[in-house]
């Protein structure tokens, strides 16, 4: 069976700096993948290449069998790729309901399968916000939110696009123990609904709890990929994190 997402030899440089060097990564439909690596190892660059925010110079990204080369970020979102940003980037002048409304009218409706109109859109906005526990604040502006609520809004906006693959880029950085559990539960629930998820995270507890498989990036290269328990014992991974 072919993978939902195939990253095939993707390379990206910024001037003389090689940010990604021939990354090879397959993600199966329905999988929960943890992507880890020290700061500056290229995780976010990889996400940006997959989602079309950056153009990779080498290699190919295929999604559901289709190559994504040359497609703009919004076209990839239309095909079922959604991402949350490392630092929350809400639409600051729009209410929470309107924040999740954007992907509904521009992605879900653009797919044309079951276009929503009028009251159905309003209902769907509230439903998505409800899934992350923000329905009560639907009419508030993002500036009224706490840090964790902001992260939830970020996830809600990605979820509102009805993605097949969700990439959560450090959705838990800076959150408390209990808040991390909340987000993990949310992501696992989403995965249960059939959404494939790639989680990029530094909090190892969260990664171990969430992931069925872990891939490790170090200095733009993938040095390990496999069962979480084995990967974290891999001498090369240990060396990358702890030094010699």
């Amino acid at each position: 069976m072919t993978a939902l997402l195939q990253v095939d030899g993707v390379g990206k440089r910024f001037g003389g700096f090689v940010a990604l060097d021939g990354i090879q990564l397959d993600v199966r439909e329905g999988e929960r993948l943890g992507l880890i690596g020290p700061n500056g190892s290229g995780k976010s660059t990889l996400v940006n290449c997959i989602c079309g925010t950056l153009r990779n110079e080498q290699g190919q990204v295929r999604f559901a069998g289709e190559t994504l080369d040359g497609l703009a970020a919004h076209e990839r979102t239309h095909r079922g790729l959604a991402r949350s940003f490392q630092l929350p980037r809400p639409f600051t002048s729009l209410s929470l309901a309107e924040n999740v409304r954007i992907p509904i009218i521009y992605t879900v409706n653009a797919r044309g399968r079951h276009g929503l109109t009028g009251a159905a859109i309003d209902a769907r906005c509230l439903e998505v916000l409800g899934e992350v526990g923000l329905a009560a604040k639907a009419d508030r502006l993002p500036r009224d939110l706490t840090q964790i609520e902001m992260r939830k809004l970020e996830l809600a906006r990605a979820m509102a696009a009805d993605p097949r693959l969700l990439i959560a880029d450090e959705a838990m950085a800076g959150l408390s123990h209990g808040e991390v559990d909340e987000i993990i539960a949310l992501l696992i629930r989403l995965n249960g609904q059939g959404v494939t998820i790639i989680m990029i995270e530094h909090i190892m507890r969260a990664v171990m709890e969430f992931s069925q498989r872990i891939a490790v990036l170090v200095a733009g290269r993938k040095i390990a990929d496999g069962d979480p328990k084995e990967v974290v014992r891999d001498p090369e991974v240990v060396r990358a994190y702890l030094g010699e």
Binding site: A72, T77, P90, F91, L94, S95, I102, T107, R157, A161
Partner: protein, 327 residues
């Protein structure tokens, strides 16, 4: 900036008011204005009315790009003058062409310039985009100054008919009527955008372009729609100008006053809704005309400057912002 939900409630109109009824109300207001002008029967009232309504069109056009998508266009005169100069060209080629058609052509020309400018400059953001648009105005002025057909630096005369076609009376009444129709079109378009998916897309672009893309908003296409629409309305606002002044020359049509006013009026009225530019244009345009007549034609520029400073300090969301629900 306040949300789009607010926008629709501030207008003093019910949120559910349909686009058609809104447009009918606009037409009624415009019609009454015209009838009142006729009843007054003062030629100067029409000249003043023309200027103010022209600014309603200009500032509404500016706001479609600047207010809704956040791209600040300093090159208003480039588009405005494209409309004026296309009228001059048409006048030289086929003087008998009816004014509304000239206005349409002016709109198409300026819209195309908007599309081209958008395509070339929209990779620039923030102040860099603004600088590029300012440069565009300079380039356009240089081109027109060196184009003999439109009179070059000397300018071109456009003889306007003494009588207004269709409605009778002085020709300035006909100019005013055309501008009123344009204003109705512009304002109805702006309000329709706000309430449509397009308005949400524009707002998403204004707030965070990368996040908008990630949410599936085709940002480049939307920005091109905004520059084209905005440019087209500016061009249409400029198209009747040669007939109004009976003369067109580069330094006056490329005057920075137009750009400053078209930016200041939405800022003073409030950029978040169609109503802002309208209020701003009526208030500032009216005050300027008043000062021009009573004090001097130079002081009227001061009016904009002072008002702008006051509003930036005291009411950064403009007059409309003062009445918006606090959240």
């Amino acid at each position: 900036m306040a949300s789009l939900v607010d926008k629709t409630t501030v207008g003093g109109t019910a949120r559910g008011l349909s686009g058609v009824s809104f447009t009918l109300i606009l037409i009624a207001v415009a019609g009454l204005t015209f009838v009142a002008g006729r009843w007054l029967g003062i030629s100067y009232a029409f000249v003043m009315g023309y200027t103010i309504v022209q600014y309603i069109v200009l500032s509404t056009a500016w706001n479609i790009l600047g207010g809704y998508t956040g791209y600040v266009n300093f090159g208003v005169t480039a588009f405005f003058a494209m409309g004026s100069y296309s009228t001059v060209v048409l006048y030289k080629l086929t003087p008998a062409l009816p004014l509304p058609i000239m206005i349409l052509v002016g709109g198409v020309v300026a819209g195309l310039v908007g599309l081209g400018t958008g395509y070339l400059t929209l990779r620039l953001r923030g102040v860099y985009f603004s600088i590029a648009t300012l440069a565009l105005a300079v380039v356009m002025q240089t081109l027109m100054t060196n184009w003999d057909l439109v009179g070059g630096a000397r300018g071109a005369y456009v003889l306007r008919p003494r009588e207004a076609p269709l409605i009778g009376g002085d020709y300035v009444q006909y100019l005013f009527l055309n501008m009123l129709i344009l204003a109705v079109l512009a304002v109805a378009t702006a309000r329709a955008i706000e309430r449509a998916a397009l308005g949400y897309g524009f707002a998403a672009i204004r707030d965070d372009e990368a996040a908008a893309e990630a949410s599936g908003v085709p940002t480049l296409r939307l920005k091109l729609i905004a520059t084209t629409l905005s440019g087209a309305f500016m061009g249409m606002a400029g198209a009747p100008l040669p007939y109004k002044d009976a003369f067109l020359e580069p330094t006056s049509v490329f005057s920075l006053d137009y750009a400053v006013n078209a930016i200041a009026m939405p800022l003073i009225g409030g950029t978040s809704s169609w109503l802002g530019p309208v209020i701003g244009a009526v208030l500032v345009g009216g005050l300027q005309e008043y000062v021009r007549v009573t004090i001097s034609s130079a002081v009227n520029v001061l009016v904009v400057g002072l008002l702008l400073v006051i509003f930036v300090v005291a009411a950064p969301k403009g007059i409309v912002g003062l009445f918006q629900r606090k959240r």
